[in-house]
Symmetry: C2
Subunit: 315 residues, 2 copies
């Protein structure tokens, strides 16, 4: 039960703990001594304590990730990207999902700080900003995804461009009246809707009608209401794609004949279902976010990715 320490290895090899430490790292040690130490470590099943190493180094090698929603495909690809870069630099990933509860976001960021993560990638609301900024001041690189915060690195999508892409595609498809299902009043959502509005007015199309939806259960009602006056439904968050699509098909509507449908974020089944989307390079965004943590640029980086339209005929 009691774990093997460097002291046990030292005693077994007949050397001091300092020598063992040197062998384990890359210190200057005679080959014969090193061999004895390796043998002792092997024999005793020694596993170095990464926590102790970290406390001496001042921080852990772990990359912290605080995300809003584990079940959303966007965050999933984001994590894959982070994980890939983290693994390449031998950094474990410490993951916390907040399930969209603000009080948990702040607590999770604080927990990451207490675990002295080498850096933090997060998607969180303003509540957690002060903590994150304090971390950054203490030398922990913090990357905020899908939002920008003064003084912190950020990786985000050009949301206005996403909205304009949507408008352009809707116009190309000959849609005149657009109903929007949006997920929140967070900056991302607002900018997408603004971009969409702008794109429509540039084309002299009527302004869209927007309904804000809290969760999946409210989607059906929202769609029902939007359908009364519109010939295309746009969903500005990938999280609600399933629910919006279900609300349309439940009414026996076929895309694109009966109704136009366009949504955010590509997903595995989109091709099969023929759903047109405006996609974010979520995997790449995760990679860049993790790279910022690893590279620790001194000035706050503000990285903006461009969305792409994938037209599949649902609009």
């Amino acid at each position: 039960m009691k774990r093997v320490t460097i002291g046990d290895v030292a005693a077994h090899a007949g050397v001091s703990t300092a020598t063992v430490s040197r062998v384990l790292n890359d210190g200057l040690v005679a080959e014969s001594t090193a061999a004895k130490v390796w043998a002792a470590a092997e024999f005793l099943g020694y596993s170095p304590n990464a926590l102790t190493r970290s406390i001496f180094a001042g921080r852990s090698s772990t990359i912290g990730v605080v995300i809003r929603d584990l079940s959303s495909p966007f965050y999933l690809d984001l994590i894959r990207g982070i994980d890939e870069v983290a693994a390449a630099s031998d950094s474990p990933v410490m993951l916390a999902s907040t399930y969209r509860r603000a009080e948990r976001e702040a607590a999770q960021v604080r927990a990451m700080d207490q675990h002295r993560v080498r850096g933090l990638v997060m998607t969180a609301d303003e509540t957690a900003d002060s903590h994150a900024r304090q971390m950054a001041e203490n030398g922990t690189p913090c990357v905020i995804v899908a939002r920008t915060v003064p003084g912190l690195h950020s990786v985000s999508l050009d949301d206005a461009a996403a909205g304009r892409l949507m408008a352009a595609h809707l116009a190309d498809c000959g849609r005149a009246r657009v109903g929007i299902v949006s997920g929140s009043h967070r900056p991302t959502q607002v900018k997408r809707v603004d971009g969409l509005r702008q794109g429509l007015s540039e084309r002299d199309l009527p302004q869209p009608e927007e309904v804000l939806v809290g969760n999946e259960n409210e989607v059906d009602g929202a769609v029902g209401s939007l359908l009364q006056r519109n010939d295309a439904i746009v969903c500005t968050t990938g999280r609600l794609t399933v629910a919006v699509h279900a609300a349309l098909t439940a009414r026996g509507l076929r895309m694109p004949d009966d109704i136009g449908f366009l949504t955010m974020d590509d997903f595995a089944w989109a091709g099969t279902l023929g759903i047109s989307v405006v996609a974010q390079p979520s995997y790449e965004m995760g990679r860049r976010a993790a790279e910022l943590v690893v590279e620790e640029p001194s000035a706050p980086a503000r990285i903006v990715f461009q969305p792409t339209l994938i037209a599949r005929g649902s609009c």
Copy 2:
């Protein structure tokens, strides 16, 4: 840059580090002293170092998770379940995805050990077993998912039952000749296929034809070959559902009229697409796995979940 330590707080409050430590934990301290210490901690922006705490406690509060594939919906719900339980017991989650590379699995398990996780939930091949067993001997509860290993806790599906459920449903749908797309020769896959074989022979149906597929790219060929002699395609791993479905629809086949289709693991779009599945309670499995880590039962627990058939008419 230099972080505030307990010593700084102690100096600022005019007490010893021992007293600060007592205030931060639940020690016996006069109220007036505690107030001074809290004020000093607040003023200096003190954030206790969780690593140091852990080294004294002998282990960290973190729960380790080594997962084979972050992009598979099964593992995703599993993680959600683990995360939920971990958050409830204030344990951060340390996540590592191995992307099905055996050498990474062993390395990740070792890394988790070195970080002195309080427990480990993992899906890994035999390569990592010896490490995991050693961890268990050192008092770290290890839960293996989707496999059983002597001496370790396990959480798995009754895979044979899943196969029999499939056979029963195929028989009910009047399918006579079954083609199987399986993903590997891992125990889960083998047991599912065995259960399916058994179920078919109990009903005096001909034995199925199985094709083993390494990755998505090989699926189309496999399906093409199976279609020559069979009237139903069964996929024994949720990971390949998209690819198999695509291979069928690409040939213009309609389900259930032209071909029967039945696969493993439920997913968000299955309802929309009308795909029948045999589902695992993956979220619940994650919860139970994490609970085993938290509760640390002395005897190895072997928890088996039952699959359920969700018939949606694709078969």
